[in-house]
Amino acid sequence: MFGRVLLGEIRKLIRKRGLIVLGVIFGLAILIYALIFNEIVTDESGLTVCAEDFTSLFYSLVVSVLTIYGIVLAAGLYAEEYKRGTIKFVMLRPVSRTTLTTAKLLAALLYVTALALGVTLIVFLYGLARYGSSGSTAVDLVFNGDTPYSTTLSIKTFGAIGLKLLSVYAFMIVAFAIGTLAKNKTLSVVLTIILQAGIFSTPFMLVDSLAGTEIQKVLFSTNADLSGYIGMSASVLDDAGGIFSAIPKGGNIYLAVGLMAGYLTAALLATYLVVNKRDVV
């Protein structure tokens, strides 16, 4: 039965009109990007003309679009059904609310994964055909800010893509929780995007002023993307400001993983509990 519930939820997502918009955005992005990639690769950029760098740069650009799409999707999973009343006929089926909640979330995560991997694959194959692979090139990275290690460009590229996808999941789970608890999609989208915008966004001065402080290391937005902690990307402002450091002040990968697990577990627990107990009115 779980499989059929899951399939039903996936079908609901596929019918969303937003998918067409997203498809157009991604299509155009790939097209433009393919034309200008050569110009971006300069000596200072640290990039080389190869399928791996072609893919990772593109992915780092579209991941924000994907994150917002994922947030919008997850925020409405229950909120829209409550608002439109369609939840009633669903909850009249012999399906437990726990099963339904799991199916909804899993459907959205699978769906976003398929989109992300689909786009990545297209871009990678195009890059491969046009520039060839440098995947076996050795690269030196730093784990947890203090332990150097060596790996290949392939692993770095796809590892970072995987970890960024995990960060998309994290924001989706939060959006799902807020949207479901508040039965309000818009509120959830706004709150989660503020949360997601994190420390780099100037509009959110409060969060901005936390950059370089000890508080930064416990923030959701700092830890959602773990790739910095294993040296796969640099994404956190240093004390001095402006200089990139992979890891926030006082932070480390174990704290980050523990915090994220805690935040997400809390969000999920609250969601399951409230959905199970709440009257449908």
Binding site: M1, R4, V5, L7, G8, R11, K12, R15, R84, G85, T86, K88, F89, V90, M91, L92, R93, P94, V95, S96, K277, D279, V280, V281
Partner: protein, 322 residues
């Protein structure tokens, strides 16, 4: 056998500002196999709340509900597997077709497929039959957003019947239906109940259409069940109906028709129903029957139309404080 048993159900809503509202107050009743029960009461009486508790959409504050022996709280999935329902508005997915909607509901319902039959084909046939039964077959490929309220209501009824439930619950199903639609719904419901043994609970604040549909009525007001009576106790409308319990039905009929401007109709072995324009003189009829040597062992006045019963009962309860 009782398909649905509601025992001492109380539902308290906590409203904003710490106020609470007792929407259901110690309600108990049951519905048997093959029985069509009308659940009637004015707006805000607690009909929908009761139905939400039965279907598990809401959880009662105290009391218990069982469907086919399954507790709707502790064994929700097994209980609800035997229920088909529409509750308040028939909200299906507007951006999908009726066919698509029903396929979705079927996919997550417990539908028994006869052995040797392919599930998909069986369900497709089942859905086509349902669409024909509710008169939407020709419009099955239209998006529900293009449907009228009455059509949505029919789709809701099809949705409710999809898993061949043992208990069918329809909350104000006649909303948006035209008289023709109401009659068709009545036929569908009566066929299901009387031929397939489905227990049916239909709520309504309008009574006229239920009078000919139901075998029994439950009256609810301000969260309390105030009456539970069979359709036999409700007359056809105008005038008064008297029912005499006698030892010789044939003789009683003859005596009444000879002496009064009234119609006498035997019911069963030992009862005679007397209908007259205006008031039937109960005392005089009784006297004549006795004079003619008919033993009268019982006499009761039949309720008039359901509407009258409803009005008189709800007025009686008008001073109830919630």
């Amino acid at each position: 056998m009782a398909i649905l048993e509601v025992k001492n159900v109380t539902k308290v809503y906590n409203k904003r500002g710490g106020r609470s509202l007792t929407a259901l107050n110690d309600v108990s009743f049951s519905v048997d196999e093959g029985e069509v029960v009308g659940f009637i009461g004015p707006n805000g009486a607690g009909k929908s709340t009761c139905i939400k508790c039965i279907t598990g959409l809401a959880t009662q504050t105290s009391g218990s509900v069982t469907v086919c022996g399954f507790d709707t709280v502790k064994e929700h999935v097994d209980a609800i597997a035997n229920v088909g329902a529409i509750i308040e508005n028939p909200d299906t997915y507007l951006n999908r077709t009726a066919l698509d909607n029903l396929r979705y509901y079927a996919s997550i319902s417990r539908i028994e497929v006869p052995s040797g039959t392919e599930r998909k084909a069986y369900i497709n046939d089942l859905i086509d039959d349902l669409l024909r039964q509710v008169g939407l077959y020709d419009r099955r490929n239209d998006k529900v957003s293009k449907y009228s309220l009455g059509m949505k209501q029919r789709l809701g009824i099809a949705q409710a019947m999809i898993a061949k439930p043992k208990l069918l619950i329809l909350d104000e199903p006649t909303n948006g239906l035209d008289p023709m639609g109401i009659r068709e719904m009545r036929d569908v419901v009566r066929t299901l109940a009387h031929e397939q043994g489905v227990a049916v609970l239909i709520s309504s604040h309008g009574l006229a259409e239920l009078q000919q549909t139901c075998d029994r009525f439950l009256l609810i007001r301000s969260g309390r069940l105030i009456a539970d009576f069979s359709a036999d106790e409700v007359g056809e409308g105008e005038g008064t109906d008297l029912v005499f319990t006698v030892d010789d039905v044939q003789k009683a009929v003859a005596v009444v028709e000879q002496n009064f401007e009234a119609k006498a109709k035997p019911i069963g072995e030992n009862r005679v129903e007397v209908t007259s324009e205006g008031n039937s003189p109960a005392a005089e009829i009784n006297e004549k029957l006795v004079q003619a040597g008919v033993r009268v062992s019982g006499l009761y006045e039949k309720r008039k139309s359901l509407e009258d019963v409803f009005v008189s009962l709800t007025e009686k309860g008008a001073n109830d404080v919630r």
